[in-house]
């Protein structure tokens, strides 16, 4: 299974020009986010730290981006699995260093991917309050409890743009709250049943 083309492996070997291991680490970290290889600031930083041209920096960033994303996608967790990606002719020390960096970061990258995946707006916060209604235009004296619920939702687009937050406030009568808790209880029972399997 060939992750990268020969040219891309060649581009990776540009990392040999790095003055230190930390520089390699930095470039690897910079190349991971989506669209990194197109961002001018990242390209310049990489080109400067390795003393290579912009186009070479772009090739390197793209190559590393592809490798790291494939490792995360396939969930390669052992050194042997990652080492086997590289061709025989690849510089041995660099191969080990890259493998080490990929292993160090893949858990974080995987968790980030999980939390940033496509989803409906996520619940980020909720608050409730119980009020007592004492009068209305239909009844001049009453004592009816009611629940107010506020939920904050955050919608993070996967592709571009920043997160957008929305707040929804709603009112629940006692019956509605009871029904809702029944429904939630049923979800809990089903979750327990699934977990047991």
């Amino acid at each position: 299974m060939a992750f990268l083309t020969e040219d891309q492996f060649t581009a990776l070997q540009l990392l040999l020009k790095a003055p230190s291991k930390d520089v390699v680490r930095q470039i690897c970290a910079d190349s991971f986010p989506a669209g990194a290889s197109k961002r001018q600031s990242v390209i310049e930083k990489t080109a400067n730290s390795l003393s290579v041209s912009s186009s070479e920096a772009v090739q390197l960033l793209t190559a590393f981006h592809t490798v790291s994303h494939e490792v995360v996608y396939q969930n390669l967790t052992s050194p042997e699995q990652i080492l086997s990606i590289f061709p025989e002719s690849f510089h041995s020390n660099l191969k080990n260093l890259i493998t080490k960096i990929l292993l160090e970061n893949s858990v974080t990258w995987r968790n980030d991917a999980l939390s940033n995946q496509i989803s409906l707006p996520k619940l980020v916060d909720m608050e409730w309050r119980v009020d007592m209604k004492t009068a209305s235009d239909s009844l001049s004296r009453m004592a009816v409890p009611t629940c107010l619920l506020q939920m904050k939702l955050q919608d993070t687009p996967c592709i571009s743009g920043g997160p957008s937050e929305s707040t929804i406030t709603m009112e629940l009568s006692r019956e509605t709250l009871d029904t809702m808790i029944d429904g939630l209880g049923r979800i809990r029972d089903q979750l327990t049943a699934v977990a047991r399997k």
Partner: protein, 200 residues
């Protein structure tokens, strides 16, 4: 001026006359009319049915529908005011007597009031203003099998759809919760319910 429990306003003359005219009905007729009236109070949306029943009653008893409808419109003022002011059956009877209704009919009407009052007041509570009322909740939960970034995962997700009444229309709110969030949500809702139960 008449001191009435069910209203502070001065009643127009025709209303007092209408109540006194109720005395002209026989016992049987008054019982039927009272039943029609309470049926309407218990199902206030059925105004078509109410008018239809009045027209039928008028036909069966040899009177014109128009004046009967006007009469009932006046009579309705009393239960509406009484409900608003949480009047007891005794207070309703006193008001009817003050308006000139005879003892037998006043007793019957106020007895019916006693019988139907719990349901009527629950209806009134239901008609009280609610802001963004939650009317429905749908849910599904499942497992994310893979994404474009991760070939294999086994993440559980829970999706909720809440239907909220905003004025005349409803709005759907969709959201996703993680498992810990779900358990927290359930816990908080149970706390809210416990708080509400303190008041019962």
């Amino acid at each position: 001026m008449l001191q009435l429990h069910f209203t502070n306003d001065t009643l127009p003359d025709n209303v007092s006359t209408d109540f006194q005219n109720l005395n002209k009905f026989s016992e049987q007729q008054f019982v039927s009319l009272t039943e029609i009236l309470y049926q309407f109070l218990l199902e206030p949306k059925e105004s078509e049915r109410f008018l239809h029943q009045l027209t039928e009653f008028a036909g069966e008893n040899g009177m014109s529908a128009g004046p009967l409808r006007a009469l009932m419109k006046s009579v309705l003022l009393l239960p509406h005011g009484a409900l608003k002011r949480n009047l007891t059956a005794e207070q309703v009877k006193v008001d009817l007597l003050s308006l000139g209704l005879n003892e037998e009919k006043a007793s019957h009407f106020s007895d019916q009031w006693r019988v139907h009052y719990p349901v009527l007041s629950r209806l009134a509570v239901g008609q009280t203003l609610m802001v963004n009322q939650l009317v429905d909740m749908e849910w599904k939960f499942g497992v994310t099998v893979g994404t474009s970034e991760l070939q294999k995962t086994g993440n559980i997700f829970l999706q909720l759809k809440l239907v909220i009444r905003k004025g005349n229309t409803t709005e759907n709110v969709y959201m996703e919760l993680t498992l810990p969030q779900f358990y927290n949500f359930l816990h908080e809702m149970e706390r809210a319910k416990a708080s509400m139960d303190c008041f019962s």
